[in-house]
C-alpha cells in the first residue's frame, strides 16, 4: 500500500477537522444551543478518516447516529453541517434532519441514521446500483459493535456476499453499545470473525491507527472495485465522550477512558509524521489554525443563518 506524504498530511488534517468540529459541538450542546441528541466521534477519528481516504467522490457511505466524523471525512461542508445541527434553514437538510440525519447524496453520503443497523441494507442498494451500471464504485457501511448484532446488519452482510456486491463493512468497535459492553452483547471478541459466516474476508485493525485503517480498507475497496465482493474490517477503538452528550457514563471507569485517551489517534499520527520529518510542529500548528478558522466561519454561518419558517414544514415529504 503506497501512501504519499501528502495523503498522510491530508488525513492528519481531516482528523483534526473532526476533532475540532466535535469539540465545538460539545460546547454548544453543553450551552443548550443544540436541540436533541448529539453523539460525538472524539477518539474515533482515525476510522472515518482512514476509510474515506480510500474513496472517490462517487463512492457512497452509509453512516450512523455517530455520524459527524464520517460526513466530514467524506467531504461534508462544515458550514452546512453545523447549520444543520443548529436546526437552521441553511443546513444540509434545511433543519429538518439534525445531527442524526445529515446527508449529502451529491457527495455519496446516504445519511447518518438514527436506527442502529439501518445503514447496511441501504449500502447494499447503492452497491447494487454500481454493480448493475458497471461502475467500479463502492459503498462503505459504517456500523458499531452494537449494530453488529442487529438482524439488518447480518442480513446485509449475507446479501452483499451472496451477490458479490462492492461493499465494505467498516465496524467501529468502541467496546460499548450505550452502556452495554461487547462482553455482554456478544460471546465473541472479534466482530471480524463474523466475516466467515458470509465467506468474506474479515480483518481486525487498530482503529486508532489511521494508516492501518487506510491500508485495510484500501485492500477491501480494491477487492470491491474489482468485483471480488464485500469485506468486513473491524476497527478497535473507543469513544472518549459518553454515548450521547449528557451521559454520566456509570458503566465504565475513568481509568479505562484515560488509557484510551493516551492512545489518541491524532497524536499517534502526529508523532509518526514528525518523527519521519513529514510534518513540522509549525506546519501542524498551521493546519490546526486554518481548521479553526474554517470552523469559526462555519459556526458564524450557522449562528447567523435563519431558522426554517413554519411554511416549510409540509414541504419535502413527496417528490
Amino acid at each position: 500500500m503506497s501512501i504519499t506524504n501528502e495523503q498522510m498530511i491530508q488525513m492528519f488534517t481531516t482528523m483534526n477537522k473532526i476533532r475540532q468540529f466535535e469539540t465545538r459541538v460539545q460546547e454548544f450542546f453543553a450551552d443548550g444551543r443544540i436541540p436533541g441528541f448529539v453523539h460525538l466521534y472524539i477518539g474515533e477519528e482515525a476510522i472515518a478518516t482512514g476509510a474515506c481516504a480510500t474513496l472517490r467522490k462517487e463512492d457512497c457511505i452509509t453512516s450512523t447516529h455517530r455520524g459527524h466524523g464520517h460526513l466530514i471525512a467524506k467531504g461534508g461542508d462544515l458550514k452546512l453541517m453545523m447549520a444543520e445541527i443548529f436546526g437552521k434553514k441553511t443546513g444540509y437538510c434545511k433543519g429538518k434532519g439534525g445531527s442524526m440525519h445529515i446527508a449529502a447524496v451529491e457527495l455519496g453520503i446516504l445519511g447518518a441514521n438514527g436506527i442502529v443497523g439501518g445503514g447496511g441494507p441501504i449500502a447494499n442498494g447503492a452497491a447494487l446500483a454500481f454493480q448493475y451500471r458497471g461502475q467500479d464504485n463502492v459503498a462503505v457501511c459504517f456500523f458499531g459493535d452494537g449494530a453488529a448484532n442487529q438482524g439488518t446488519t447480518q442480513e446485509a452482510m449475507n446479501l452483499a456476499s451472496a451477490w458479490s456486491l462492492p461493499v465494505v463493512f467498516v465496524n467501529e468497535n468502541n467496546g460499548y453499545g450505550i452502556s452495554c459492553p461487547t462482553s455482554k452483547s456478544m460471546a465473541i471478541t472479534d466482530i471480524a470473525d463474523r466475516a466467515a459466516a458470509y465467506d468474506m474476508p474479515g480483518v481486525v485493525v487498530d482503529g486508532n491507527d489511521v494508516l492501518a485503517v487506510y491500508e485495510a480498507v484500501s485492500e477491501a475497496v480494491r477487492r470491491a472495485r474489482e468485483g471480488e465482493g464485500p469485506s468486513l474490517i473491524e476497527c478497535k477503538t473507543y469513544r472518549w465522550r459518553g454515548h450521547f452528550e449528557g451521559d454520566a457514563c456509570v458503566y465504565r471507569d475513568e481509568n479505562e477512558v484515560q488509557s484510551w485517551v493516551e492512545r489518541d489517534p491524532i497524536r499517534k499520527l502526529e508523532e509518526k509524521l514528525q518523527e519521519q520529518g513529514i510534518l513540522s510542529p509549525e506546519k501542524s500548528r498551521e493546519i490546526r489554525d486554518a481548521l479553526a478558522k474554517e470552523l469559526e466561519a462555519a459556526v458564524a454561518f450557522a449562528e447567523e443563518s435563519p431558522l426554517p419558517s413554519v411554511d416549510e414544514l409540509e414541504e419535502d415529504v413527496y417528490a
Partner: protein, 324 residues
C-alpha cells in the same frame, strides 16, 4: 384491447416498464425462474435475465433496503414482498428509511421505488398469510399507497407507481389475480390519487377497496333489485386519497358506507368516515357506516374465514339499515 387477468396486467406493466427504462429492475424472493409465489413475475426472468430479475435470500429487510439504496442512486426498483404479512421483519427500512429519507434530507433525495405485496384472505392461508395492512402504510408520511381492484387499474396504476419518484406501496389482492377485464396492450398510466366511480348511483355512496369493490358491486346489483341505486367508488390509492370524489358523491347521495377487508377497528374506513363527517356533515342523512373484518386474526378454517371476510349480504344489510 384484450381480455387479461389482473395478474397478467401486473406482469405486463412490469415488462413494459422494464423495456422502456433500463433502470427498472425487480427483486424479491423467488421472483426469477420461479416467477413469484403467485406467478406475477412469470417470464420476466427469461426476458430480462438475472441482472434485472433478482432472486433474493429470505431477508426482507435486506430486500427493502437494497431497493431503497438503489432508488436513492436513481434506479427504479420494484421489490416484491411475498405476502404483505411479512412486512413486520422489514418495516423499519420502509417507514424509517425509504419513506423519510427525502424529508430528513431536506428534499435532497428521491426514492423512486415500488414495494409490491399481495394482501388479503380467501385462500385458507391463515393468520400470517392473509392480512390487509393498508392502514399502517396510509399512516406513514412519505409513502404512497395503491390498491388496484381491476385488471385495467392494476396495469395503469403499477406503471404510474414505477414512474413515480416516491416510495409506493402497491397492494394487490391475491383473490383478484385471476379476475379478467379489458386491458389495453400499450403502456398507460392512471394518476395516483384519483378515485374511480365504478358504478354510478343516486341513493347511497359505497366506498370500497380491493376485493371489496367487487363485493360492493355485487351488493349494488342486489340493492338495485330493491330499487336502491348505489354509487360504488374505489379510491384506488389511499395516499394520495381522492376525498373530493367521495365527498361529491356523498353530496349527491346523502349516505356513505365504507367497506374494506382489513379489520374494521383502526382501518382506513375510520379515516375516510372522519374526513367525510368533517367536510360533508350537513349533507348526511344517516350515520356513516363502516364494514370491515371483525377484530380477530384471520382464521384458517373455511367457514370461519368466510365469516371473517365481509360479503355482499353485509353490504346490503348495512345500506338497508342506513336507509331504514
Amino acid at each position: 384491447m384484450a381480455t387479461k387477468t389482473y395478474l397478467q396486467a401486473l406482469n405486463e406493466a412490469m415488462r413494459q416498464e422494464m423495456e422502456r427504462d433500463p433502470e427498472v429492475f425487480i427483486l424479491g424472493e423467488d421472483v426469477g425462474q420461479f416467477g413469484g409465489c403467485f406467478g406475477v413475475t412469470q417470464g420476466l426472468f427469461e426476458t430480462f435475465g438475472e441482472a434485472r430479475v433478482k432472486d433474493t435470500p429470505i431477508t426482507e429487510s435486506a430486500i427493502v433496503g437494497a431497493a431503497t439504496g438503489a432508488a436513492a442512486m436513481g434506479m427504479r426498483p420494484v421489490c416484491e414482498i411475498m405476502f404483505v404479512d411479512f412486512i413486520g421483519v422489514a418495516l423499519d427500512q420502509l417507514y424509517n428509511q425509504a419513506a423519510k429519507m427525502r424529508f430528513m434530507f431536506g428534499g435532497k433525495a428521491k426514492i423512486p421505488m415500488v414495494l409490491r405485496a399481495p394482501q388479503g384472505a380467501g385462500i385458507g392461508a391463515a393468520a400470517q398469510h392473509s392480512q390487509s395492512l393498508e392502514a399502517w402504510f396510509a399512516h406513514v408520511p412519505g409513502l404512497k399507497v395503491v390498491m388496484p381492484s381491476t385488471p385495467y387499474d392494476a396495469k395503469g396504476l403499477l406503471i404510474a407507481a414505477i414512474r413515480d419518484d416516491n416510495p409506493v406501496v402497491f397492494l394487490e389482492h391475491k383473490i383478484l389475480y385471476g379476475i379478467e377485464g379489458e386491458v389495453p396492450d400499450e403502456p398507460y398510466t392512471i394518476e395516483l390519487g384519483k378515485a374511480k366511480v365504478q358504478r354510478e348511483g343516486n341513493d347511497v355512496t359505497i366506498v370500497a377497496t380491493a376485493a371489496m369493490v367487487h363485493t360492493a358491486l355485487e351488493a349494488a346489483e342486489q340493492l338495485a333489485a330493491d330499487g336502491i341505486d348505489a354509487e360504488v367508488i374505489d379510491p384506488r390509492s389511499l395516499t394520495p386519497l381522492d376525498i373530493d370524489t367521495i365527498i361529491d358523491s356523498v353530496k349527491k347521495t346523502h349516505g356513505l358506507l365504507i367497506v374494506h377487508e382489513a379489520v374494521r377497528k383502526g382501518g382506513v374506513g375510520g379515516e375516510i368516515a372522519a374526513q367525510v363527517a368533517e367536510q360533508a356533515f350537513d349533507f348526511l342523512d344517516a350515520p356513516i357506516m363502516r364494514i370491515g373484518a371483525p377484530f380477530t386474526p384471520v382464521p384458517f378454517s373455511p367457514p370461519l374465514e368466510k365469516a371473517f371476510i365481509p360479503d355482499a349480504g353485509a353490504v346490503v344489510g348495512a345500506v338497508k339499515q342506513m336507509r331504514g
